[in-house]
Amino acid sequence: MKRPLLLILLMLGVLTLGAQTVKECIAADRYFTASNYRVYPSPDESTLTPAPAGKKAFYISHYGRHGSRYLSSKKGYTIPYKILHDADSLGRLTTLGKQVLQQLSIIIADSHERWGDLSALGKQQHRDIARRMMQRFPEVFEGNAHIQARSTTVNRCMLSMGSALQQMMSINPRLDIDMNASLSDMWYMNHQDKQLRDSMMTKKAKAAYKRFSEDTVHNNRLLSLLFTDTTGIHQHDNDAWLNYYLIKAELIQQNTDMHKQVSLSNLFTDDDLYLFWKRENGWWYIMYGPSLLNGGHQPYTQRHLLRKMIQDADSCMRMERPGAQLRYGHETIVLPLTCLLGINGFDYQTENLDEVESHHWWASQVFPMAANLQFVFYRSGIDDPDVVFKVLLNEQEATLPLPTDMAPYYHWRDFKQYYLKKLDEYAKLRNE
């Protein structure tokens, strides 16, 4: 009797988790709304399914985003600064408005010459992820295990890679590390597909996005907090831009120590943040998701990466101790790759942007700072014909749209067959 009860309780737990809404997530953590500025949510370290009977982890294939960073482009701060500054010079700011202006200037000074840099928190995230990877799968990292690490040629990615490797080396100084960041690897590490990029925002998608978001961009409550006189503020949609950039300015501070000094948090209600999140989520769905508004092929930007990961895994499996392959890049890779793989249902396709949220297509869950996918491979020995693996999305066990008799583990041969066929079909379409 005890067992069924436990089971029911467990199922209930799973169900409530599954039934969670974005608003509930926000109530628990309002910075869930930060979308791609979201700080990496450190996972519960005790929630992994034991290895399948008789098999041992022997190889890890990884792709991760750089850790927390400073804002990449100055204009995210200077646009709201200018709007407020202009109003201030005309005496149109409230006391709070003046405070916000001052806080923005502090934020700008903090980011000076640091645009796009990995922050201290970003380095720590990668150290922690690397440490957990080694603690959870020690067999992969034993002795002089080989670690192949590749990064895009962007500073913050290289420093993320360096942080992870330093952590690994300090745990096991015998590791044999091969590290590089080269233009010659960009064809799979950060592939730019002109044809797909040019077809992201089709007319149809643009119209749908406009309809989806236009009621949510203005924030009159915010205006009344900041301005004594809002004359001219609606020109060029300045009020909408101000709302947008101030929210982003607040959200990204969580990635540096700046949030300890300044906070724009009191300017926004949870509902404001929710509307921001919703717009962003719709935008990412169109641009990098499997949206049918532009043909549903955007995730195929990552076809070279997926093929490379399959090929690399195949050749690594022939080795006695293949170690780990670590790859460091961007959210614009992690998100479409997750969609291409259909991890956790992120291959959900629709034309209706209103359906995206209710179908749990929440980009925030995929690509926070330091987001990562880890494919962990298991076998009984080098001759084991049935290699199995599991996928961790941000270090949590994830599902694939494949049949399996041992979830969260999948059979490698099933995976290969399914995805190579998928990739081949798209290649035919593109005459590649």
Binding site: H112, D117, K123, M161, G162, P173, M179
Partner: protein
């Protein structure tokens, strides 16, 4: 009589060789001709003078160049390759020419999409440098020591930094490390890069360089070794550009996977190699050394770096275990820093370009790939106010223009006073 004559001849040769240390070096090792493209020359053994009695090393302050790398521009590979490809298709290459063409093709392939990046040899160099740094100064690295590493924002420098740090960690996993590469350090790691005189020389310097180059013209004789038809060469090949880029490729080969195959530098006679090097050395001196012809200005570009190093050393000296500060950047910065320091005579101030070599102003000894300056600090203990410093240039002891009871160990107080005053004086004069 015969003996006497022989002696005279021998003496003359010895004298001229003595006056031409670079020529002598190149006879031993052609790779020296590459100047700043030379692969880091490792010594079999490193000999160090015993430090002042009772003192031990406690802190290292470093500036290093990235390890061996590929050329940054595609044209460096494509232009010579295209010229030779065309000649080959018309049957205009000699057997040697065909061999060289094949080598260039391989180099071009190896460097494809890796332009400006560190090569595997570069990684190896950085590992060895870090390994020896720790082996030669174990006291600095004992226990939970902090390594502070900073790099310019160029990827080969970042990888150099990460490579050294990983090597140090593999030898002492207890080290704590901070590492960063950001535009915010560029002010001292690569100061005023766009304003430096090397990019646009003062007129007097340019004129002197032009005269010097005219006196040391490139000998076209090598062309006949590669091409079998002088008429074709005359019509089809822009000699200046081809010579320049082919020589640069030949220099760069030692940094690649093809470093052990038939060296392209064999195309040239000793005299030709030496001549190329002299031309390059004069350019380096006028661009990055201090000469009346450039108002002595280039070395002072690094006043920000040197002041930073002095200030950071001062605050590190106050610590019990300051550890190591690693900084990664570029050859021109190092050349200017060495000139500003006057290390090993690189502070030479002259308008006579013909004397550079005999007075020791020799590019490849200062700034090969992975070149590095290490200031090693010595003291009895933390309360010792009498701190000594020595400078290692590419891991070999160097002299400074400072009084010393026991060179190459100098009093830190003398060091900081001399250079801070030197910088101050210069900056005042600028105002």
């Amino acid at each position: 009589m015969r003996k006497f004559l022989l002696t005279i001849v021998a003496t003359t040769i010895v004298c001229s060789v003595w006056a031409q240390p670079a020529y002598r070096d190149m006879r031993k090792n052609r790779q020296c001709a590459a100047g700043n493209y030379m692969a880091y020359p490792e010594q079999k053994k490193y000999h160090y003078t015993a430090p002042p009695k009772g003192t031990h090393p406690f802190y290292i302050s470093h500036y290093g160049r990235q390890g061996s790398r590929y050329h940054s521009k595609i044209r460096n590979y494509d232009y010579p390759w295209t010229v030779m490809h065309k000649a080959d298709s018309l049957g205009k290459l000699t057997p040697l020419g065909r061999e060289i063409f094949s080598q260039i093709g391989q180099m071009r392939q190896e460097a494809a999409h890796r332009w400006g990046e560190m090569s595997p040899l570069g990684v190896w160099q950085q590992r060895q440098i870090a390994r020896r740094m720790m082996e030669h100064h174990p006291e600095v690295f004992q226990g939970e020591v902090h390594i502070d590493a900073k790099s310019t924002i160029i990827s080969r420098c970042i990888l150099s930094m990460e490579t050294e740090v990983l090597q140090l960690l593999s030898m002492n996993p207890g080290l704590t490390v901070s590492h960063d590469a950001s535009f915010c350090y560029m002010d001292y790691l690569n100061h005023d890069n766009n304003k430096r005189p090397g990019k646009k020389m003062p007129e007097a310097a340019q004129q002197a360089l032009n005269e010097y180059l005219a006196q040391h013209p490139i000998d076209d004789a090598y062309l006949a070794r590669l091409f079998n038809d002088p008429e074709y060469v005359g019509q089809a090949i822009k000699k200046d550009e081809f010579s320049d880029l082919l020589f640069k490729l030949a220099c760069s080969q030692q940094n690649t996977l093809l470093r052990d195959s038939m060296p392209l530098l064999r195309i040239y006679s000793q005299k030709e190699l030496y001549n190329y090097w002299q031309r390059g050395n004069a350019w380096w001196y006028l661009s990055h050394g201090g000469s009346p012809l450039n108002q002595g200005a280039p070395p002072y570009i690094q006043h920000v770096l040197l002041r930073t190093m002095i200030a950071e050393a001062d605050s590190c000296i106050a610590l019990e275990k300051p550890g190591v500060q690693l900084r990664f950047g570029h050859d021109h910065v190092m050349m200017e820093l060495l000139s500003l320091l006057g290390a090993n005579g690189y502070g030479l101030y002259t308008d006579d370009l013909s004397t550079l070599e005999q007075r020791g102003w020799i590019s490849y000894k200062a700034i090969p790939m992975a070149a590095n300056v290490q200031l090693i600090f010595y003291r009895h203990d933390r309360h010792d106010s009498d701190v000594y410093v020595k400078l290692l240039l590419n891991e070999q002891e160097a002299t400074l223009p400072l009084p010393a009871k026991k060179a190459p160990y100098y009093r830190w107080s003398d060091f900081r006073q001399y250079y801070l005053e030197k910088i101050e004086t210069y900056l005042k004069r600028q105002k």
